[in-house]
């Protein structure tokens, strides 16, 4: 994985000092909260329901054992012993003090980590495929491209005060494991007819109040023009994105309102101009970065196959490991969704354990998924059993990957000042209702996502089953949606009907799963059955 050189380190250190000064000015009253807020947001520091919340960046979801251990230590030293992994591959701490924030950033900087641009109206953490470098179906590892764009977007002087936040995802396979088309810019690294590698740009996707799937704006941008093209996309947005209404300020609204063709035309015009400026890093820089991702030290010549005689282990191995491009290996998904637990949360001890397990079993690398789980990408099949035993002892071996128990939930009204309803207690109830492992496996792949408000941090629009919490005359109420997909066959979930109480929606979900079981054809996942039979049978069963 990427390692800082003295330049990267100098930049992160400079940012720490800049923020230290900004905090001092705020504490001394030299700037008001209105003036300070955008500055602290650019360092990932929110003021939430109970305290300040710090969102630490995990670039394209990749980190090593040393970094993971620091995240655990920060939870103990500055927070209340746990952290929350998010749907953008970052980690959040909920009980931060402003007066500690500069030192936390300084501590992070010692392990090449930061909270730069994890909030604010700027380019945010660039996300990617959590199986990058391990997946057999990727064209190339997408992360060097993500790293190139990360550096380009960091402290970019022109794009620090965009109309709104800007989220970029980069993948390099036809299978979309990063919800790429639901981003402001989604990039798929592709090969053209002549075998040249380049970037397909999708621009204008997003969730929130007005979910949209990004259209293709450019089929192919040569790799050595990718930064220039991104610059053109951002400049058009910075100049013409709406600034009159916070809820219409994302680029998806601009692309929708002027049309993809017009947006493309403006970008091409800007792109032609920018190409004359020589802004693009040279091939040597891309190759330098790519070198860090080339070979993590995988052993050649290992055989596939491992002892499955322990039945509990076999169930977990079948559900939570995925094929690896290198024979004899698997990518392992550590579930942070124990039955009845808080999705995405991990204690400091669990975080440190995962750090150690990565060092011992996964060539010192971990990933954070946008579904709030942790991946150990390079595990020898011969090590799976020992790994599973350690995970199991720590409550980290729930075998529910992509099953109904693998719930994605935002922090909701328990933590977030933007929320209208609590999401975690609902997740816990659903998880408990469907806790029985055999029942979950019978239902099969069923991606359930919960957002506590329309900002959709739980990605409910992309859920096979989506839940949106609303405030109905001062009481928490929940809307049920069906049929979303975050994969390459991206679709937006549709609302079923009138909303429910917390207990009511748990019952409604059970009804939905019963309809699925009654209707499904051989081999159909829930999403397939829904797409075949439509909303009607579900609506009928729920509302009569």
């Amino acid at each position: 994985m990427y390692q800082y050189d003295q330049y990267d380190q100098a930049m992160v250190d400079a940012r720490v000092e800049e923020f230290r000064g900004q905090v001092a000015r705020r504490m001394a009253g030299e700037i008001t909260e209105d003036q300070f807020k955008p500055l602290r947001l650019k360092n990932g520091l929110y003021l939430q329901l109970h305290a300040y919340m710090l969102r630490v960046a995990i670039p394209y979801g990749t980190l090593n054992g040393r970094q993971m251990r620091m995240l655990g230590d920060i939870a103990d030293k500055y927070d209340r012993g746990y952290g929350h992994f998010t749907t953008r591959q970052n980690i959040q701490y909920n009980w931060i003090k402003l007066e500690d924030a500069p030192q936390i950033l300084a501590d992070l900087a010692t392990v090449e980590m930061h909270a730069i641009q994890t909030s604010g109206n700027c380019i945010r953490n660039i996300s990617s495929d959590h199986f990058a470098g391990a997946a057999a179906d990727e064209l190339v590892d997408p992360r060097p491209y993500a790293e190139l764009l990360r550096q380009w977007s960091s402290f970019h002087p022109e794009f620090d005060y965009l109309p709104r936040k800007f989220k970029i995802a980069v993948i390099a396979s036809d299978t979309d494991r990063a919800a790429m088309r639901l981003h402001d810019i989604g990039i798929q690294i592709v090969k053209n007819e002549t075998g040249e590698i380049g970037a397909r740009f999708y621009v204008g996707g997003g969730m929130g109040r007005t979910p949209m799937i990004a259209p293709v704006i450019r089929e192919f941008v040569p790799v050595l023009q990718m930064v220039s093209y991104a610059e053109a996309c951002l400049r058009v947005y910075n100049r013409y994105g709406r600034r009159d209404n916070k809820y219409k300020a994302r680029i998806k609204i601009l692309v929708h309102e002027i049309g993809a063709d017009e947006y493309r035309r403006q970008v091409e015009e800007e792109f032609a101009h920018i190409l004359t400026l020589g802004l693009e890093p040279p091939q040597a820089e891309f190759e330098r970065i790519a070198g860090f991702f080339a070979d993590p030290g995988l052993e050649r010549g290992l055989a596939d196959g491992y002892d499955r005689s322990d039945p509990d282990f076999a169930v977990w191995a079948d559900q939570n490991t995925t094929p690896h491009k290198q024979a004899g290996y698997k990518a392992v998904v550590i579930s942070l969704k124990p039955a009845g637990g808080i999705p995405g949360d991990a204690t400091a001890d669990q975080i440190r354990l995962m750090a150690e397990l990565a060092e011992v079993y996964s060539l010192d690398e971990l990933r954070v998924t946008h579904t709030q789980n942790i991946v150990l990408p390079h595990v020898k099949q011969s090590d799976l059993y020992a790994l599973w035993q350690k995970l199991d002892a720590a409550g980290l071996a729930t075998a529910n990957l992509d099953l109904i128990g693998d719930i994605i939930a935002c922090p909701g009204l328990d933590y977030c000042s933007l929320a209208n309803a609590r999401s975690i207690p609902l997740a816990q109830k659903i998880s408990a209702r469907f806790a029985e492992p055999e029942r979950q496996r019978t239902l099969g792949e069923l991606k359930l996502k919960i957002s506590g408000c329309i900002n959709a941090c739980g990605h409910h629009h992309a859920g096979n089953i989506g839940i949106l919490g609303v405030d109905r005359k001062g009481t928490e109420n929940y809307q049920l949606l069906l049929g979303g997909s975050e994969a390459a066959d991206t679709s937006l979930a549709q609302i079923v009907g009138p909303g429910f109480s917390e207990d009511g929606i748990v019952d409604a979900i059970e009804t939905v799963t019963n309809v699925y079981l009654a209707q499904r054809a051989e081999g159909e996942r829930f999403l397939d059955t829904y797409r075949r039979v439509g909303m009607a049978p579900f609506k009928e069963a729920i509302y009569g």
Partner: protein, 143 residues
């Protein structure tokens, strides 16, 4: 000239008041223009060589359109004074400089010392812009 203007140029400041972009289009002898966030900086491109001062207004520092306007002007060869006016805090100075501003007239005065310190925030830069600084990728590969 505004009293609390910070200036990073050697030449004499322009004394003329800045006219709006619309007015500039019809006034043949104006040498100073003020760009508002909603103006298109490209409207000035045909006349750049006769402009000595362009003010770019930031009514609210969160409206970042002026950064693009500034860069576009410099990218097309504008060599006169480029002055950021309005809601400008020391926290914006460094990025503004990188986008081509060489003068600042903030609503709330900034001392020269604070400004100089703010402009030195970044030891290196990741991006090539119009300020002439070598980006990190160039330093890495001996350019």
């Amino acid at each position: 000239m505004v009293e609390h203007c910070l200036r990073y140029r050697d030449d004499e400041p322009v004394g003329d008041p800045a006219v709006t972009v619309d007015a500039f289009a019809v006034q043949g002898n104006a040498t100073a223009v003020r760009i508002e966030p909603g103006d298109d900086a490209r409207a000035l491109l045909p006349a750049l060589d006769r402009i000595a001062l362009i003010e770019i207004n930031f009514p609210a520092y969160g409206d970042g359109r002026g950064y693009s306007a500034a860069r576009i002007l410099r990218e097309h060869g504008y060599a006169g004074e480029l002055r950021a006016v309005g809601d400008v805090l020391i926290d914006q100075l460094s990025h503004m400089r990188r986008c081509g501003f060489d003068a600042f007239a903030p609503d709330k005065p900034i001392t020269q010392a604070a400004a100089d310190k703010a402009l030195a925030t970044w030891p290196e830069v990741y991006q090539k812009t119009v300020d002439g600084r070598s980006p990190i990728w160039a330093l890495r590969h001996g350019r």
